[in-house]
Amino acid sequence: MAIKAFTDEWTDQLKDEVNKSSVYKAAAKGWKWTVGLVVEAEPDKNFPESRGLVMDLFDGDARGIKLGSAADAQKCDFVITAPYSRWKQVSKLELDATRGMLQGKLKLKGDLPTIVRYTKASQELTLCTSRIPTEWPDEQ
């Protein structure tokens, strides 16, 4: 059954997917920073308020992935910001996250030399989101 995007249930499912991924576990070995995803509001897409995902990722494990406010996500060591519809594209694998960042479609804040060491891990995170059967607000 599909889970509503960017809800508590969805972030729990994402945590499970990340922890199931042996690819992520290997690629993120040594990672010890928090990651915040800011999902900007798009009222015309039935996503009226910005939300934040706070990801506590440590050494290949997802210790916690919680839904919060955009401000919560902005406190993380690395922050990636994009409007709702861009995140939907990323999750549906219609937009490659690496390309998106180079094109400025996803805005990254944080130490670049650190994050480029973990491009494989971030790609796998994207794949984890794509594995969640998701109900999108603008498709309801």
Binding site: W33, R99, G104, G110, D111, T114, R117, T119
Partner: protein, 151 residues
């Protein structure tokens, strides 16, 4: 976070500037990366301070590129490919970022024996990574690789 301090130090060094008032996201990303590397590592700063060359990078899957104009301790980044380049690297976004993960081996040469190195070498052989000017500018390419590398 230590990384933020490094970025701040790089900004203070003022070694990277942008030719355009509106640098592309890719230009800013490369500028941030090189600035942080040079600010954090003395061996990269030495390379940076002696490098004089124009290097182009074209990201084939987003059809965007930049020209890095290294001028002995200063870097000016142009949106797009400018004339007078010694070297031009053409690859997909993922490969360009993988290049920054090349380890530097003995004698300051990029190491092609580990997973990332083998992947890069394989892409070169298969034409997925093209480097114009590589054969005639090996020393410059090695220096640029050392400045890029986050390893």
């Amino acid at each position: 976070m230590a990384g933020r301090a490094v970025e701040a130090a790089a900004r203070e060094l003022g070694v990277v500037e942008y030719a355009s008032k509106e640098p592309s996201a890719f230009a800013e990303m490369l500028g941030g990366l090189i600035g942080a590397n040079v600010g954090a590592r003395s061996e990269k700063k030495r390379d940076f301070d002696t490098l004089v060359a124009r290097v182009g990078i074209w990201v084939t899957d987003i059809e965007e590129g930049v020209t890095l104009d290294f001028n002995a301790g200063k870097l000016t980044i142009y949106n797009g490919l400018e004339p007078g380049r010694k070297i031009t690297i053409r690859a997909e976004a993922d490969t360009v970022l993988r290049l920054t993960n090349l380890k530097i081996g003995p004698f300051g040469m990029p190491a092609y024996y580990d997973e990332v190195g083998r992947e890069i070498a394989s892409k070169l052989l298969r034409g997925k990574l093209k480097i114009d000017g590589m054969l005639t500018n090996v020393a410059t390419l090695n220096r640029v690789t050392r400045i890029f590398s986050v390893q």
